[in-house]
């Protein structure tokens, strides 16, 4: 399990970066989280998470895509790295494994 530990927000952001594919940067990630989950996340928190993910090697980034709204400034575009995808898989698999071990619902009285 070394290196694949992800926090809750980290996991969410990592997934969104994967979903947005080549278009993931601060604002678009925040927007996507909002539209997909209804959660409002502060832009500065997203920046922090993205930076941390990059440090861990789960995402890669490059500068590009200046628009007028940004006053001509470029975006830092993030994309999922191989280890990032592995991490997502790992997390998902672990979750499934754990889920499968859940006892049946209480309505099932077989276990008394």
């Amino acid at each position: 399990m070394k290196g694949y530990h992800l926090g809750e927000l980290e996991e969410l952001v990592l997934l969104i970066v994967g979903i947005l594919d080549q278009e993931a940067y601060g604002v678009s990630v925040a927007e996507e989280i909002k539209s997909q989950t209804g959660r409002k996340v502060n832009i500065s928190a997203i920046h922090t998470v993205l930076n941390r993910l990059e440090e861990k090697g789960f995402v890669r980034s490059h500068m590009g895509g200046a628009t007028e709204e940004r006053g001509g400034r470029r975006k830092r575009l993030f994309s999922l790295s191989a280890s990032g995808r592995t991490a997502i898989n790992e997390v998902k698999m672990m979750r499934n494994r754990l889920y499968d071990q859940l006892p049946p619902l209480a309505l099932d009285f077989t276990n008394g």
Partner: protein, 868 residues
């Protein structure tokens, strides 16, 4: 998209973000913040978007994002940048030596004048504030009910001082200070010297640096402490300690030894004195006088309180003295007693009677301050004009720097730093000028002892520092902001018009000319008045007369007899006061009306001896008893002001005695021309005793026989100061004063004209160099000299004309009142001073411009047009 561009995120917050953010994160963060701003703007409106932007800026303010990048970046580069600013500035100075000389010379003259004015004013207001204990020292004062209301006195009853230790708490020390004017006799020479009689604790409360001896010398009743000046005057190069001198108060002579000499006080002490004497040595200190008499003697009393003492409490304890005083001396009750802090004494001048300081001399302060300000303004304007013109050669530099990306603030800063360099030189040279030329000259004129004391006087540093800052900013701010406001594209294309045609320059030049005119008019009018007054008829014949003082009445008759016997003396006459000095006033009654007139008591031959001119009636006849008892001579003003005609049909009553007016004399000047001629009555008194003797000498012998008169005088009055003088010299001091002021004003006028001229010269010559090609091309095409010079001269003549009108109006208004404050008799601002001033300025302008035109005439167009 375009409509969004009408709004921008809050500038300040954006700046803040730029300020703190790490450079490699900035783009990303700022971009996102901007994007969100415009999203919010579309959805929720401007206010919300702005608020969110600010909120985001602060939420990004995290440790991982903070780099203070800009700050650190600037810091590392600043020293290099400033150094290169100064280097460029220095090169510019070297490149333009002429104009730099004009600026620096003008500014340093101005700084020199300002230093003198400052020292003069500071000398009055900061007097005594070098005392280390100044915050602990208080003067005791009392108020009492007088006819005109409550009056505060700076003196208190003498015994108060002895009661202080037992009555007041928190008081460390106290001293009595009595100011006296005794006759000092040393080595057969006698002088009146300002003396302070004080307790020995005086030297503990007030600290003086000693040149010789030690402050404790005052503890001995037979020792005195001299100032540096007095010691030098009495003993010269001799070692003063242990030397003997004697002081005479009311005829009592007392022998003292010199116990110490103070270092030069430089006129900066609160008390103006020549020597300090132990209080016990004062002849009036007799212990066994009645209590009431002791309490009615008053003198200055100072206390030194302990650190952090409760002043209101001490003031309430003073109540005790009020009670004692009112018991002992009920005719003169105190209403209240109080304390005045030592540094506040100066602010209470005029509010306190019999205080330590009773005179501020606002007039000379204003005069000097105005002169300093005039010269400073002239120099500053010169500098502004020249620096704008000079910068026109550097327009390309400005343009290139702007294109490369210099901010405007950086350019302003660069110009200011060059200014700072020039101003620093100016201040430095100004100090030298003031110290070695202006101050010695001024000290001689004003008989002062002002000095620049860079080591001990911290105020002068504050003054110089603020001068440096102020001049730098005033001279630099306008040119710097003006020059840095140009658009680079205009400069580099060569479209930028700059230079002497600007209205601003013309306004400054007009102002300079106006100042020059005003100062010239002042100087010329003053000198003219002086000249006229020097030749003014005094109303009597002042030649061949000696006036001597009679110190005591017992000496009068022997003096008169002895002097009459002198061969060169023609006639002797006594008088209570003498013509040429202040004369006492009396109230006269004519019918029911009362008037105050000058009243001169004299022997009956005095008017004739003085050669007063008789207008009507007759002089006194010494042989008529009625003439010596009930007759008056009056002057013409007496009749004019009182509305009378000679002969008078009624008698004049003075002090309930009736007098007949037997004659009228022409007006004559008893005091200097500063004062109007007052109505005057002369009474001849029989054989009484007078204060002064006037000797009429053989023609031409007055000056020569002064010595023998003095010897005779000293035979009869061994302990006294001979104050004999020639009648021709009675106004000597006033004339010296007025001449000093005339010198001062003439100097400042010369300086201001020189500065205005230099400024004009710089302006014209810079202008000329810039446009010499223009003129040469005109010349080639056949313009004659007349056309060329007309073009140049016209503008300056116009400025001269405007300045002449403004200057004349101001001069007439201000200079007249200025003259009024010095003379009751002056010619006013007439055609002579105005005409002269305008003419001189015109001449100066034309010469300056002509010298430049000559340059064009001499210039060979082919040479000039060929070069470059």
């Amino acid at each position: 998209m375009d409509k969004k561009r009408n709004h921008y995120p809050p500038r300040l917050a954006d700046r803040f973000l730029e300020f703190y953010c790490l450079p490699d994160r900035l783009e990303q963060i700022q971009g996102d913040a901007y994007e969100i701003f415009y999203l919010d703007l579309e959805e929720k409106g401007l206010a919300f978007a702005r608020f969110r932007f600010i909120f985001h800026v602060f939420s990004f303010f995290k440790w991982s994002n903070i780099g203070f990048s800009k700050f650190m970046y600037l810091k590392t580069n600043n020293t290099v940048m400033i150094r290169s600013y100064f280097k460029i500035g220095w090169r510019n100075i070297l490149k333009q030596k002429g104009t730099t000389f004009i600026s620096v010379f003008g500014l340093s003259c101005a700084v020199g004048c300002c230093i003198v004015a400052y020292l003069f004013i500071a000398n009055i207001w900061f007097k005594g504030l070098n005392q280390p204990n100044k915050d602990e020292i208080y003067q005791l004062v009392y108020t009492s009910e007088e006819a005109e209301g409550l009056v505060t006195y700076g003196t208190v009853a003498e015994p108060v001082s002895e009661l202080i230790p037992n009555t007041l708490n928190q008081v460390k020390n106290q001293t009595k200070v009595l100011y006296e004017f005794p006759l000092l006799i040393q080595d057969n020479e006698s002088f009146f010297q300002r003396s302070i009689y004080a307790d020995p604790s005086f030297m503990e409360m007030f600290k003086y640096r000693m040149e010789f001896g030690y402050p404790g010398a005052l503890k001995e009743p037979d020792q005195v402490i001299l100032t540096h000046q007095l010691s030098e005057k009495l003993f010269g190069d001799m070692h003063p300690l242990g030397q003997e001198l004697s002081l005479v108060i009311n005829g009592e002579e007392k022998l003292f030894k010199v116990g110490g000499v103070l270092e030069d006080l430089k006129d900066m002490d609160m008390f103006t004195f020549d020597l300090i004497v132990n209080f016990e040595s004062h002849p009036h200190t007799i212990t066994d006088i009645p209590l009431k008499d002791a309490w009615s003697k008053e003198l200055w009393t100072f206390i030194q309180v302990e650190k952090g003492a409760d002043i209101p409490r001490i003031e309430s304890e003073l109540e005790r003295f009020t009670q004692i005083q009112n018991q002992v001396n009920p005719e003169k009750p105190y209403v209240d007693m109080g304390l005045i802090a030592y540094p506040d004494i100066i602010y209470n001048v005029g509010k306190i009677e019999r205080g330590v300081r009773d005179f501020l001399g606002i007039g000379p302060q204003i005069l000097l301050g105005t002169i300093g300000l005039f010269i400073l303004l002239l120099a500053v304007f010169n500098y502004i004009n020249l620096s704008i013109l000079m910068a026109s050669r550097r327009l390309k530099e400005i343009g290139v720097r702007k294109v490369i990306g210099s901010k405007r603030s950086q350019l302003v800063f660069q110009f200011l730093s060059e200014n700072l360099l020039i101003c620093f030189f100016a201040i430095f040279l100004g100090c030298l000028l003031a110290g070695f030329i202006f101050l010695p000259g001024f000290n001689e004129i004003a008989s002062k002892n002002l000095q620049i004391d860079l080591f001990r006087d911290k105020n002068i540093w504050i003054f110089l520092g603020s001068m440096l800052l102020a001049i730098t900013l005033i001279t630099g701010l306008y040119p710097a902001t003006y020059l840095s406001s140009f658009k680079p594209i205009g400069i580099l294309k060569g479209n930028q018009k700059i230079g002497s045609k600007s209205v601003f320059t013309s306004v400054l030049l007009t102002f300079q000319f106006t100042l020059a005119i005003i100062s010239m008019v002042a100087a010329i009018a003053f000198v003219q008045t002086n000249y006229i007054n020097a030749n003014r008829d005094w109303g009597y014949n002042s030649a061949d007369k000696i006036i001597i003082n009679v110190p005591e009445s017992k000496d009068y008759v022997p003096l008169k007899n002895k002097l009459s016997a002198l061969s060169s003396v023609v006639e002797v006459s006594g008088s209570q006061d003498y013509v040429g000095n202040w004369i006492r006033e009396e109230e006269v009654e004519i019918g029911d009306e009362k008037y105050n007139v000058n009243f001169l008591d004299a022997e009956s031959n005095y008017p004739e001896l003085l050669d007063l001119e008789l207008k009507q009636g007759r002089m006194f006849n010494p042989n008529l008893i009625s003439d010596t008892q009930e007759s008056l001579l009056v002057n013409q003003t007496f009749l004019d002001q009182l509305g009378l005609e000679f002969p008078l049909d009624q008698t004049v009553t003075i002090d309930s005695a009736n007098y007949h007016v037997i004659g009228v004399v022409e007006d004559f000047h008893t005091t200097f021309f500063k004062n109007e001629i007052a109505p005057m009555a002369i009474r001849s008194s029989p054989d009484s005793v007078f204060n002064y003797l006037t000797l009429k000498m053989n023609p031409g012998s007055a000056e020569a026989s002064m010595q023998s008169v003095k010897e005779i005088w000293h035979e009869i009055v061994p302990l006294g100061l001979f104050e004999g003088k020639l009648q021709t010299e009675v106004f000597e001091r006033e004339i010296a004063d007025v001449n000093g002021i005339a010198k001062l004003i003439s100097f400042s006028a010369t300086l201001s004209v020189t500065l205005a001229l230099l400024g004009l010269f710089g302006l014209v010559s810079l202008n000329m160099t810039a446009r010499i090609k223009d003129y040469c091309i005109r010349k080639v095409f056949g313009a004659n000299v007349e056309d060329l010079s007309k073009k140049l001269v016209k503008r300056y003549l116009l400025i001269w004309g405007i300045a002449a009108v403004i200057g004349s109006v101001f001069s007439v208004i201000f200079i007249s009142s200025f003259l009024d404050s010095f003379f009751a008799f002056h010619s006013g601002v007439g055609i002579i001073p105005l005409g002269f001033a305008l003419f001189i300025l015109l001449g100066v302008i034309i010469t300056t411009v002509a010298s430049q035109i000559l340059k064009v005439i001499k210039a060979n167009p082919s040479m000039i047009l060929k070069s470059e």
